[in-house]
């Protein structure tokens, strides 16, 4: 078999194309080759590095690193923060998309823009703003101190910063989908005598469930992996206010690389699980996830 005969099998074009709508074979090889090399070099190699470095010092060291008390408390804190921040943003996403998609009101496009605002704010600034409000020298710092309430360098600050950086995830998946679906289903349910809440739970929620799950998965990945914003408000107190990404940083800065990569490998695993769920939702329910290609 000659190269030329084998070529169309390796790098061909979709069935819909014709001879004039594709490039010559060497050009195709060059483009695909460049794409593959770039993706392997910049995406796959770093991912592989995490797991190889994690197990470099042996499996015993690996399990010791992820089961020592500070690591366990970091894992617990990360789960706790996500367990508060993600539901908060689900409620917000549902309320915002209900208001934006089911009603016509003045200022709607402004509201839509404001919801995406946190995506364009640096993570460090996302933490900074809460320090400015609640830090010892912040606007409410004095007041909080007199009541002995600690927000910065404590759980509430970490939760607030996490909510901020994951703020748009659920809403931005739901709004376009619910706008596309319109209000007919709800109107039908209401005219048949269902209450507002019943309509929401029995009609609206089933219609948007896959898009909701999609948004929640992405929101959760970011909530558990956030570093910059949480780093500013956490205070890095070992065993107390260290989330998993912060624990990775501390171990790394102590030159404890094997342990740092061991904890990092758990986060990388979370990223892979997130990608798998995301992709399978996109493949199976593409028509029910309006925003599947907007990232």
């Amino acid at each position: 078999m000659t190269d030329a005969a084998f070529a169309p099998l390796l790098i061909s074009q979709p069935a819909s194309g014709s001879a004039v709508t594709t490039e010559r074979y060497p050009v195709r090889v060059l483009l695909v080759g460049t794409a593959v090399v770039f993706l392997v070099l910049f995406l796959l190699l770093p991912l592989a590095a995490v797991f190889v470095e994690a197990f470099r010092a042996g499996i015993g060291t690996y399990f010791a690193a992820i089961t020592e008390p500070d690591a366990v408390s970091a894992i617990k804190l990360t789960l706790l923060v996500a367990a508060i921040a993600v539901p908060a943003n689900i409620v917000f996403g549902l309320a915002a998309s209900w208001a934006i998609a089911k009603f016509e009101f003045k200022g709607k496009s402004v509201l839509n823009t404001l919801i995406d605002l946190p995506f364009s704010v640096s993570p460090v600034i996302s933490g900074l703003i809460y320090v400015l409000l609640f830090g010892a020298q912040g606007y409410f710092g004095h007041y909080l101190q007199s009541y002995n309430i600690q927000i910065i360098f404590a759980l509430p600050g970490i939760v607030l910063a996490t909510i901020f950086v994951t703020f748009p995830f659920v809403a931005r998946e739901l709004v376009p989908l619910m706008q596309e679906q319109g209000t007919q289903d709800e109107e039908a349910a209401l005219s048949l005598g269902a209450s507002g809440w019943k309509t929401f739970f029995k009609v609206t929620l089933p219609n948007i469930r896959w898009a909701l799950l999609y948004g929640v998965v992405l929101c959760n990945a970011r909530a558990m992996g956030e570093f910059g914003a949480v780093s500013v408000v956490s205070g890095h107190i070992r065993g107390k206010t260290n989330t998993m990404p912060l624990h990775v940083e501390i171990l790394y800065n102590e030159y404890n690389f094997a342990a740092a990569f061991a904890v990092a490998s758990l986060l990388a695993l979370l990223a892979l699980v997130t990608l798998v769920i995301k992709i399978s939702l996109e493949w199976r329910y593409a028509d029910q996830i309006a925003a599947s290609r907007r990232h």
Binding site: T34, F103, I129, P245, F257
Partner: protein
């Protein structure tokens, strides 16, 4: 449209729950986003206009802002070029492993930035997987601005690919056939017919990658080296100022960075408006 609102702010509707949904949305938005961001602007305003200017144009701040902006510009340019090639390959050709690679493009969105940071450092440090081959050639990547650019390329790549991909998928093949029928060769069709149509998407992806890169922190600090005036990025300087309890200074740098990213988003908005005017769709 506006007339149908009548005297109220909302058009009448049979659906219940408007007040509750919008009320909750606005309260939550104000408490989490608007008031805290307002505090940032308010805090930097305590410096006064000239004080703000002095902080932002101070030599160390200016060096940090410049470094953040130019490494981001470089990374976004690399992403625009290679992101377009990747999007083109994924959409126009069929090859083994295509869907897997397609799925992996989103990795930088899913992988926590600190993990990306230490992984890239492990690769590019002088004794690392890639670094050990570059070191004898005199090329230093980790702990230099080049390392910063590498991290920013990593986190910005999906923005370009995911913006260009859908436009390419919906590209009308009849346009290419018409171009070929009229005697254009393939290269002319690609560069004169297709690329101009893709340009707004490439520019949008470029600006989004740039906006993300300017504010990026987690993936950068491990590989950067963090030397003042050389490899210290603006977000790190904010943290340093915060640790010194110089809140107004930190707020001023933050405000300057916000202005850069809002400027970029405004640019995206202009590109998209121009695209709609020119092509009649979005």
């Amino acid at each position: 449209m506006a007339a149908s609102y009548g005297l109220g702010l909302k058009r009448p509707s049979a659906i219940p729950g408007f007040g509750l949904a919008l009320g909750f949305t606005l309260t939550y938005l104000s408490l989490i986003v608007l008031i805290p961001l307002g505090a940032l602007v308010l805090k930097s305003a305590t410096l006064g206009l000239s004080g703000f200017w002095d902080v932002v144009t101070g030599p160390r701040t200016l060096a940090a802002l410049r470094l953040s902006f130019f490494t981001s510009l470089f990374a976004a340019t690399v992403n625009a070029l290679f992101g377009t090639i990747i999007a083109w390959s994924l959409v126009r050709y069929r090859f083994p492993g295509r869907r897997l690679l397609d799925a992996f493009v989103d990795l930088p969105f899913a992988l926590p930035t600190a993990v990306a940071g230490i992984a890239l450092t492990a690769l590019y440090a002088p004794n690392g997987w890639i670094g050990q081959w570059l070191a004898p050639l005199g090329i230093k990547v980790a702990y230099t601005p080049t390392g910063i650019a590498v991290a920013l390329i990593f986190i910005g790549l999906p923005f370009v690919v995911r913006t260009v991909q859908p436009v390419l998928e919906e590209f009308d093949r009849e346009l290419e056939e018409a171009s070929a029928t009229l005697g254009a060769n393939r290269r002319q069709t690609v560069f004169r017919v297709m690329l101009p149509t893709l340009m707004p998407a490439i520019l949008t992806g470029f600006a989004l990658a740039l906006a993300r890169a300017v504010g990026e922190y987690g993936s950068v600090i491990f590989i950067a080296g963090n030397m003042p005036f050389i490899s210290e990025i603006a977000p790190l300087l904010i943290i340093i100022r915060l640790e010194e309890f110089s809140y107004p200074q930190a707020a001023a740098i933050g405000t300057a960075m916000l202005m850069i990213s809002f400027g970029l988003l405004f640019f995206v908005h202009l590109v998209q408006a121009w695209q709609r005017r020119r092509f009649g769709h979005d």
